[in-house]
Amino acid sequence: METFLQLVVNGLGKGAVYALLALGFVIIFKATEVINFAHGSLVLFGGYLVVVTRESLGWVGASLVGIAGAGLLAVVIERLLLSRSKLADPHSLALLTIGVDVIVVEELVRRLGVGIPFLGEAWDAKPIQVGGITLFRTHLVAMLVAAVLITAFYLAFKFSNWGVAMRAQAENREAAALMGIRSRGVTMTAWLVAGMLAGVAVLFLATQDFSGAGLSRGTHAIALAAFPAAILGGLDSTVGAVVGGLVVGLVEALSAQYISFDFSKSAVFLVMLLVLVIRPSGLFGTREITRV
């Protein structure tokens, strides 16, 4: 029972980080209907900036730079590439982001070289014992940060002008534009927010508590697990992103313990397949309706 509780706590801690990443996918998808395959490279870029600047700025300053940098890169990708191809449909733009991802990741991995630095200095590998359960600080901080950020996003999405504009655009792009909503601004902020969430997530991803490994190509691979999170929750549902993230975290932790560590990566994807076969648009996603 204790092991099980421990696993659930670990799973939720990891799940919180996946939720941050999945939320990034969902925000971009809602605003533009594009799946951002370059999300992993945003994660890596944020982490890389932290590594480069923390000597001079200290951990806090470097982390802020990393978060801002990831957001900025997302905006640059959107402004420089995606917004330029007015003709292309969302699906081809998704393919375009694959091209971006390949380039950014290869270059960052080349720059990082063989060193795989850990990022979570403030909390890394300092567990707290509560009863028989070990609480990893990374997981605790991640849960806290995710809860705050996701709540803030949810409130902004529901009540702020930006949220209204965003929801209008998600509903019907043309109609929203006709009503005087600047699609450009909405799209840009969506990418900015998603990128910054990726920048926050990497601070937890490249730690000893989360993956046992530092910032490397592997970090990009871990970020890939947020794909199933976003998809199984439903790509256009913010609630789905959170639930999906937690499900992925739990499935990973439980299957690694009870089946095998090697299997845990496939387990996440298998659960996603199962959900998709039953509900093709995810747990909370809107169903696509075909009219003839």
Partner: protein
């Protein structure tokens, strides 16, 4: 994607029978290319032939994927999984047991190769419950799960795959008593054939068969049903196309091609070695590389897939061959620009440029160069 694919193949759909002289010219061009490929081994060194074999491996795989993605409109990132399955099936059937460490049946290599194709086709069919229900990006990410399943298979089924640390050696391909490996020399009409030449002709034959069959499929009733489903599922169904069958069929055909490419991969490496992590011979990066070939070539274009393979799989080979000759990109270790890195940059950029400026891919550029006639017809076709 469907829009992109529609534009890419509008010519093959609407101008199926171009004016006679153009058709003959095109046939003559293909035959000239084939003749060139047939005589090349007499002039090229073994390392260049090896590079060529690798490009042909890519060509077979990308022809399969372009039919699925471009013609049938199903995005798939699972190609690497089917490569692994094809390579494993061939190796298990054709190779020996190697002291009982692994399972092997020592069957006829041709039979093993055909079995590998059949097995991967069946695996593709088995994915039908998923591929039939999902569309677009959802299917793309769902198919990604197969790559992770393949990764786990490679790690855990080491009696079949040889395991991630050592792998296992596939039996060389044999046909008509000719062994396609290093042992012994073959002399035809006074010309000695070494291993690289024999393998070149084997790979060329496989590529040509794959190419011709794919062209046939695309231009036939089957191809039309794929395009109908891609463009509008509901209207395809209304016109009497069985949507589920067309989708499952396209996935099976594409997987079969990937299976053959997988056999060619293990024969080329002369080892079957499953990946330790998700980036390797059968990893996500390979799935993306195959998708890159298809996008760069122009979604749905069989000829474009060949050019895509030339760029994505050929460039690293050619760069590394040149680098030893010219002394560029020779750096290794930390921060070095390796040939693989450089060509990754190139194909990443090529994907971006193609989506931004020429959604029809290189195939569309080729079409523009070869025929004003075609363009006229295309205009006619779209205005109608």
């Amino acid at each position: 994607m469907s829009e992109l694919a529609t534009r890419a193949t509008v010519t093959s759909a609407s101008a199926k029978a171009p004016a006679k002289p153009v058709r003959w010219l095109r046939l003559a061009a293909w035959l000239a290319l084939l003749a060139l490929l047939l005589v090349l081994p007499l002039y090229l060194g073994a390392e260049w032939l090896k590079a060529g074999q690798w490009m042909m491996t890519g060509a077979v795989g990308s022809i399969g994927l372009t039919m699925l993605v471009g013609q049938a409109g199903q995005l798939s990132l699972a190609h690497a999984f089917f490569l692994l399955m094809g390579g494993t099936t061939y190796t298990v059937l054709a190779s020996g047991t190697e002291d009982g460490r692994v399972i092997g049946f020592e069957l006829n290599p041709l039979f093993s190769m055909v079995s590998a194709i059949v097995v991967t086709a069946l695996l593709g069919l088995a994915f039908a419950p998923v591929s039939g229900r999902l569309r677009g990006i959802y299917l793309g990410v769902a198919s990604l799960s197969l790559v992770f399943i393949g990764l786990y298979f490679g790690q855990s089924a080491d009696r079949l795959t040889g395991g991630t640390s050592t792998g296992r050696t596939p039996a060389p391909f044999e046909l008509f008593g000719i062994t396609f490996d290093n042992s012994g020399g073959l002399v035809v009409l006074g010309v000695p054939f070494r291993q690289a030449e024999k393998m070149w002709y084997l790979y060329l034959a496989l590529t040509v068969i794959a190419f011709v069959l794919a062209r046939g499929a695309v231009n036939s009733r089957v191809g039309r049903s794929w395009r109908a489903v891609r463009d509008h599922e509901a209207s395809a169904a209304a016109m009497g196309v069985s949507v589920a069958r067309a989708k499952a069929g396209a996935f099976a055909v594409s997987s079969a091609y990937a299976g053959l490419a997988g056999v060619m991969t293990v024969l080329w490496f002369d080892i079957l070695k499953p990946d330790e992590n998700e980036f390797g011979t059968y990893g996500i990066n390979v799935s993306i590389a195959y998708l890159a070939m298809v996008i760069i070539g122009g979604l749905g274009s069989i000829g474009g897939a060949l050019v895509g393979a030339l760029i994505v799989f050929g460039l690293p080979q050619v760069l590394s061959l040149y680098s030893t000759q010219l002394g560029i990109f020779t750096g290794s270790g930390e921060g070095a620009f390796t040939p693989i890195l450089v060509s990754t940059f190139v194909y990443g950029a090529a994907i971006i440029l193609v989506v931004l400026f020429e959604p029809g891919g290189l195939a569309a550029i080729g079409r523009r160069i070869t025929g004003g006639l075609h363009r006229e017809r295309k205009k006619e076709g779209t205005s109608r």
